[in-house]
Symmetry: C2
C-alpha cells in the first residue's frame, strides 16, 4: 500500500478527543467513509478485528447452546406496527424499499433495523409444542438505522452486528437467558477486549422499544464518556402476543412463549479504540489484534539478521501467534511509528549486535516499555508477554475507570462530575421528569442502575430515592 505520512500529527488526545478518534481510524486504515452519507467501508485492518471479535463471541454463543441462522433483510412495513412501542421506536429510522424489479411494490419494505418482527413471524410458524422449546438462534448480519449524525463504528446508517432471538416456555427461563447473555458479553468484553464494563438494568426511557426490560453494558472511554457496548432484552410476551408465538404446553393449554433478544455490533471496535488508544494511536488487546507481534529487522543487510527474522516468524506462526515481518525498505524508526500507531501489542527488534549476544528487544505497546530478552526461549516469552499485555490492559482500564466513578447528591454535583469526565452515581426517585431534567441540564443520561447500591434521596427533586443510577455523557 502507499506510504502515508505516519509522522504527521494525530490530533492531541487530551485537547481534541473527537478529532484524535477520526485521525486514528482513518490513518490506521481501519475504516473509510462510503459513498452514501452515513455509511462506512470497514477496511481489511478493521475487518480483521471484527473477525476476531466474531470468532470469540460465536464460540461463546455455541457453548451456551445457540445456533446460527440467516433471516431476510427486508421486512414488510406492516410487521412493525404489530408491536406498539416497537414501531414508535424504529419507524422513524428505517430505510424503505418502494421499488424493485422495475416496478412499484404493493407494500413498502423496511431494511431491517433489528429483526424481532421477522424472527417472531417465523417462530410462530415453527413453534408448536413445549417440546420445541427453547428455540435459541443467533444471526450475524447487517442492519440499517438512518441516523442524522454519524461517526465510523459508533453510529452509522449501516452496521454489522449479531442478534440473538430466543423463545422459552416460562418467564423464569427467558429472564435467565437474558442475564446469561449479558454475562457472556461482560466476560467477553473484559477477557477479549480488555474493557471493564458496568452492567445493569436500563431505565424505562432508555430501554429497547418493545422490551419489558433492557440490560446494558457500559464502557468508559478515555474522555470519561460512556459507550453502550451491548444490550440484552427481556421481551416478556410482548412480541409473542404481537406475532402469535404460541405452544401447546405439557398441561394441554395453548400459551404464549416468553422471548429475549440480545446484540452487540461493530461499535465494539469503536469501544476498544477509545478505551485503550493513546497519543501514538491504537492499542489493541492481543486476543482481538489482527497482528499480535511485528518483527522489525535492524540493519537488515548485516549477516544473519534476516535469517534470524525468518526463523522467528516461522516459529511464532507455528506457536499460533499472528505475526508480521516488516520487510519493507522503510527505516526502523518509520516502522516503529507505523506499527505503534496500528496498535500491535508487541514489537520484536532483531539487530546484529543483540543477536551476537543471543538477545532481541521486545517493545510492549500497552506500556511503551522495551527490554532485552534471550533469543533462546523467545517463543515462550512472546506468548507470556501477550498474556501479560492482555491482563494488564484490562487492569489499567479498570484503574482508570474506577478513579473516575464519583458520587453526587444534587444536580450541580452531577454536572461537575460529568464535566470532569466521570461516571456519576446518584439517587433517583424513579420519575421520568427528573430523568429528563438531568439530560437537559447536564447532557448526561441514566446509563444503568448501580447494582446493589442504594441512595437516600433523588439528586434532582430531593424526594426519597428508589434507585442508585450511574449517569454519564454517552456516545
Amino acid at each position: 500500500m502507499a506510504k502515508e505520512n505516519f509522522v504527521e500529527q494525530i490530533a492531541d488526545i487530551e485537547k481534541d478527543f473527537p478529532q484524535w478518534y477520526t485521525d486514528v481510524v482513518k490513518k490506521t486504515k481501519l475504516v473509510d467513509y462510503g459513498p452514501v452519507k452515513g455509511t462506512m467501508v470497514i477496511r481489511p485492518y478493521g475487518y480483521a478485528i471484527w473477525e476476531n471479535i466474531q470468532r470469540e463471541l460465536d464460540k461463546r454463543f455455541k457453548e451456551t447452546g445457540h445456533e446460527n441462522a440467516y433471516f431476510p433483510l427486508l421486512i414488510p412495513m406492516s410487521f412493525f406496527t404489530k408491536e406498539a412501542e416497537h414501531v414508535e421506536g424504529f419507524a422513524p429510522e428505517v430505510a424503505v424499499v418502494t421499488h424493485a424489479g422495475g416496478e412499484e411494490l404493493a407494500e413498502p419494505l423496511a431494511i431491517r433495523p433489528t429483526s424481532e418482527t421477522v424472527f417472531g413471524n417465523m417462530y410462530s410458524k415453527w413453534l408448536q409444542s413445549y417440546r420445541d422449546l427453547p428455540i435459541m438462534i443467533n444471526q450475524w448480519a447487517n442492519v440499517m438505522r438512518w441516523e442524522k449524525t454519524t461517526r465510523p463504528f459508533l453510529r452509522t446508517s449501516e452496521f454489522l452486528w449479531q442478534e440473538g432471538h430466543t423463545c422459552h416456555a416460562t418467564e423464569e427461563e427467558a429472564l435467565e437467558e437474558t442475564m446469561k447473555m449479558l454475562g457472556v458479553y461482560k466476560e467477553f468484553a473484559e477477557n477479549c477486549l480488555a474493557i471493564p464494563v458496568l452492567t445493569g438494568k436500563k431505565t424505562e426511557k432508555e430501554k429497547f422499544a418493545g422490551a419489558v426490560a433492557t440490560f446494558g453494558m457500559e464502557a468508559m472511554m478515555k474522555d470519561g464518556k460512556s459507550l453502550q457496548a451491548g444490550t440484552s432484552h427481556y421481551l416478556g410476551q410482548n412480541f409473542s402476543k404481537a406475532f402469535e408465538i404460541k405452544f401447546l404446553d405439557k398441561d394441554g393449554v395453548q400459551k404464549h412463549a416468553y422471548t429475549t433478544s440480545w446484540g452487540v455490533s461493530t461499535r465494539l471496535i469503536g469501544a476498544l479504540i477509545m478505551a485503550h488508544g493513546d497519543q501514538r494511536g491504537l492499542v489493541i488487546p492481543p486476543v482481538v489484534a489482527p497482528t499480535q507481534a511485528v518483527i522489525v529487522p535492524i540493519a537488515a543487510k548485516k549477516g544473519g539478521v534476516m535469517e534470524a527474522c525468518y526463523q522467528l516468524k516461522s516459529d511464532l506462526q507455528k506457536a499460533g501467534v499472528r505475526v508480521v515481518l516488516d520487510e519493507t525498505d522503510n527505516s526502523p524508526g518509520w516502522k516503529f511509528n507505523e506499527w505503534e500507531m496500528k496498535g500491535v501489542p508487541l514489537r520484536i527488534e532483531v539487530g546484529p549486535r543483540d543477536l551476537e549476544q543471543g538477545k532481541v528487544v521486545i517493545f510492549r505497546r500497552d506500556t511503551c516499555v522495551k527490554d532485552f530478552y534471550a533469543l533462546d526461549g523467545v517463543i515462550e516469552t512472546v506468548k507470556e508477554l501477550l498474556q501479560a499485555v492482555q491482563k494488564d490492559m484490562l487492569e489499567a482500564a479498570r484503574v482508570r475507570r474506577d478513579e473516575r466513578i464519583v458520587y453526587a447528591n444534587d444536580m450541580s454535583g452531577i454536572l461537575a462530575g460529568v464535566e470532569g469526565g466521570n461516571f456519576v452515581k446518584a439517587g433517583w426517585c424513579g420519575c421520568r421528569e427528573c430523568e429528563d431534567k438531568i439530560k437537559a441540564e447536564t447532557a448526561a443520561t441514566a446509563r444503568v442502575y448501580a447494582e446493589g447500591e442504594t441512595a437516600e434521596t433523588c439528586a434532582v427533586c430531593g424526594n426519597k430515592a428508589k434507585h442508585m443510577i450511574i449517569y454519564a455523557r454517552a456516545y
Copy 2:
C-alpha cells in the same frame, strides 16, 4: 424441535425432481420461505452447511493472499450507469430505497446486486502508486436481485455470497488472478462438496454484465441439468475506466488498473443437495456436513449401552469429529429415517449384543451399506470412513456425470441429448444467432467452452465451428 412425520413420503426423485427438492429442503429444515415473496430463511441446519463452506473457502482465499473487508449495502443508482453493459444487466433487477429516516431521498439508492461499482469507487480513492498493487479484497455479504421465479438456495431475491474484487498493474496479472480463483473454486467444489465441475470460458451472451470475459464452473445435478456454481470474471479496464481506478506506474505514467471479480453463493447448498441427494433425502459430504456422525443407542435401557455411547461421543469429539448422540425417545427406526434424510455421513449403532462382542454397526449414508466394526480402534475407523465417504462421493458423482456427457452434430442431437438429461458437446460457429436458436428450440444454453476440444461444424448452421461448447439445460 417438534416431531415431524419423517416417514411421510418425499416425492419420487425419478418422477418429480423439483418436488423432491422442495420436499427435502423443507423437511430437513434447511430452509423456509421468508415473509417477503422470493426471500428465504436459512435455518440452523442449512446455515451450518454455509458456515462450513465459508470456513473452507475463507481459508483458501487467505492462503492466496486475500483479505476480507465490508463495503456498504446501498449504492447510489448513478454508479450503475457508469459502466454501460453493467447497468443494462443489473438495473432491471435492483431493489431501490427511495425513502429513509422519514424523508424522500435526493437520489434513490440500490441495494447491491453485486459490488463492482462501490469497490471501484473506493479503489479509485485508495490506489495511487504501483506500490499499492495488487489490491486483493473479498467480502462475505448479502446481495439482492429481484427475480420473478424463485426457489430456495437456487434463485432467491436475497442470497448470501462472497465477492472478491482485485486490482492489478497488468493484464497478465489480472488474468492470472481470474484463473487462479477459478482453480480455487474447482478444487473446493471437488474436495469439499464432492462435486466434479467443468470449468471454462462463457460465451459473450452468458458472461457477466461488464466483464471482458467470464469463466464459470458448471456442476451436473441428478436430473442432468447444469448448475452454475461459481464464476470468475476478468474485467479488463472496463471498471477502472468507469471509476477512474488509476495508478502512477514505475515509468512515471498514470495508468488504469486491470480488475477482476469472482463469487460463489448459497446456491452451492442447492448444488450439493441436487448433486448427491437420493430417495431417502440429503447426502452431505463429510467436509461440510454439520453432523458427520450420529450415534444411535439400540435398547438404550440395557446396561452399558448409554455409557458406551457417552464414551464414544466424547472420544469422537476429542478427535475433532462433529458428532451427535440421539438421546430422544424416538424408536431406532425413526431415528434411522430422520438422520438418513438429514444426510449425515455415518450412523453408529450401539446395541447391547454387539457391545458384548466388542463391536458396533456403522452405516454409510452414501452407499447405504452397513457393517460391523471393532469398538477397539473405532475412532480411527470413523475418521477413515469419513475420508472414504468424501472420496467415494466425488468419484461416484464423477462417474454419474461422465456417463451423461454426450456429443451431437446437429440440433436434433442436442435436443435428444438434453431431453435425456445429458450435457451435450457440440460445435459452434461463434455467432449469437445460432446460440439463440439452440436456446429457443432445446431450452439448453451454452454453459462453457469445452477446453481443449474442437469440432468440425456448427451444430446449428453447419458452418465451420470455431469452438466446442458444452450445452445443457440449467438452473
